[in-house]
């Protein structure tokens, strides 16, 4: 039975691409301005000849940057890699109702890749206690059809 449980997890890992994060990459949390996190947002990159997107997000007391004041807008059916870090305290980055769920830890960079299959909106919740207004910290991801994706809001 124990073997079966472990095998289930490994199967998810290998066959269904259900990975957990585990990169070790540190960053100075007091000095994010000189890094890609200094201009947070969606960036276009080319990998293996295909167009992909990278999203740099700062989580801070009590907002996602971007995500809270303006939604994170990405195209459907495209590889999106998120990079998340925090300049102040621990936060969570949970796309509600999905398995996109990571900790944001000052000094560390969380990285994960996903493909949103269809156009729709998702809520982002901070699910790690981060201070007295923790409960107001929320954001939004807007997945739009690939053909309607507006590239004028991309950051360099």
């Amino acid at each position: 039975m124990i073997v079966f449980f472990i095998a289930t997890v490994v199967y998810g890992f290998v066959a269904m691409d259900l990975k957990v994060i585990g990169n070790y990459e540190t960053i100075d949390p007091q000095n994010l301005s000189d890094t890609p996190f200094g201009t947070p947002g969606v960036k276009e990159v080319t990998k293996n000849g295909a167009t992909e997107y990278e999203v740099y997000v700062q989580t801070l007391q009590f907002a996602f940057l971007p995500g809270t004041s303006s939604p994170i807008t990405v195209p459907a059916d495209t590889r999106i890699t998120f990079y998340i870090t925090s300049p102040d305290v621990l936060h969570g980055f949970d796309v509600a109702g999905t398995n996109l769920n990571t900790m944001a830890i000052p000094g560390q960079i969380s990285k994960f890749t996903t493909i949103f299959p269809e156009a729709r909106e998702y809520g982002i919740v901070c699910n790690e206690y981060c201070g007295p207004a923790h409960h107001i910290m929320e954001g939004k991801i807007e997945v739009v059809p690939k053909s309607e994706f507006d590239k004028s809001n991309l950051v360099e």
Binding site: I6, Y24, A96, I105, P106, Y129, K140
Partner: protein, 558 residues
Amino acid sequence: MTFLHQYPKAAKVAKANFIVAFIALAIGGLFGFIQALHRTDVFRGFFNSGEYYTLLTGHGVLLALIFTTFFIAGLFVWGVTRSLDREPENMTFTWSWFWLMTIGLIMTAVTILGGLVPDSSIRAAVLYTFYPPLQAHPAFYIGLALVIVASWMAGADWFWSYNKWRKNHPDERIPILTFMALFTMMMWYVCTIGVAVEVVGLLIPWSLGWVTEIEPLLPRTLFWYFGHAVVYFWLLPAYYVWYAILPKLSGGRLFSDAMTRIVFVIFLLLSTPVGYHHQYADPGISVGFKFYAMATTMLLLLPSLMTLFTVVASMEHGARQRGGKGYLKWIGKLPWDSPAFVGCALAGIMFAAGGFSGMINASMNINLLIHNTIWVPGHFHLTVGTAVALTFMAISYWLIPQLTGRKLKFKTLALIQPYAWFLGMTLMSNAMHRAGLAGVPRRTAEPQYSGFEFEPIFGTMAEMDWQIAIGGTILTISLILFLWVITASWMGGEKSDRPVDDYIPEPLSGAEHTPKILDNMKLWFALAIILVLLAYSFPLWEMISDGIFEPGALPRPS
């Protein structure tokens, strides 16, 4: 003659520990009630949403750290004294650990409650996991350190009694009540090293301002080095009760001495190198070590299933002694009118349910669906909140009479209490699990958001909120019943030489059939250390090799 008359000095110490435990239980439980109403938006008039986190910190610290530790100390004083047939070796030493632990608790509690005083600079709304860079008042950390050091002294006290006993009994097996206590404490020594290094080495100097920056991942990892083993520190004393006392309460005797010892040895070995399963969603720890933690976590299913088998077999034996027949009909012959039995049995059933959600938690990638959602508190209110807490309450109905020499009063209320707890927890916990699947976060004052709605898979959000609020209310009523019965019996129960039947019969398969190697404490302790080094040495080295406080973040007020 009961425990009070045979060992009056130990009885006094055990009683002192239980008094502190029950006061912590009362206050922590009250906070839980307020939270259940606040979170679900049934009633938010007691405190504002910022103060919610102070209450939440109080709930976690008072119940998970204080109630449990003091109760366990009282239970082990009872068990070690009784099974070795010796009073503690030196009462000054014994009372000094009790008072040190109490001073630590008061320091910590004052800093937490300070958060309810407007504009107070003494605050500690950092929750019971106290992750930096959120910073509490230094007395919060110093108090916690004192509690831990005092608990080490308590363990040393029991090892001291054991060594003295061993001199007079060179060839005897360790009595089972002492064996279980000592193995639990060895596990406690292994796991508290992590939190002691964290609190004393990092957080106290940082909270006093001797260093300004802190690396958040390192203390978090040290916390979880301790943070899962601590749940076994709560659970093993519940097993202690299920193995040693529950068979007797069912009318029979323990099925196997050997099984009991094997289970405690496995817990000593595997309780600590599982901590990363709380950090599956963390950056900075490689997938390989997370996988190792998952494997050790899954292996812990083994001793839990062995416990299920042994305890149920013991209960079945008891029921058959009472005239039970058939494959399942014997269950009806169990003493369902005895509060102590009912509480332990219902706690065991809830633990099985908690075990199932625990397997989901342990499964690395499936975990991401529910990580930090209210599913997780749903899970541990079944395990620590019921399997442990309800067992502790139930066994109090049997222990307190032995310690006070007074019979239990209000037996009907005492019997209603565990059934009420079971009902309340069923309502609350199932709703918490389901809400967690929809993504509702834990540890939040107002889990409703302006920009989107949660989409539950089963049921509706309103229905779940009501189940949590009503379940929490029933749990509070059950807690009041417990405190009322215990206080009334303690103060005014009828005095008696033998207030309960406290005889514990020998196991069906006794220690003479148990392999001797299981009693080799040095061997198992050394193996436990090796497994911990395998799990932790490389990742911790990776975190500290760039400087213990680097990459550093500045403190933030809580």
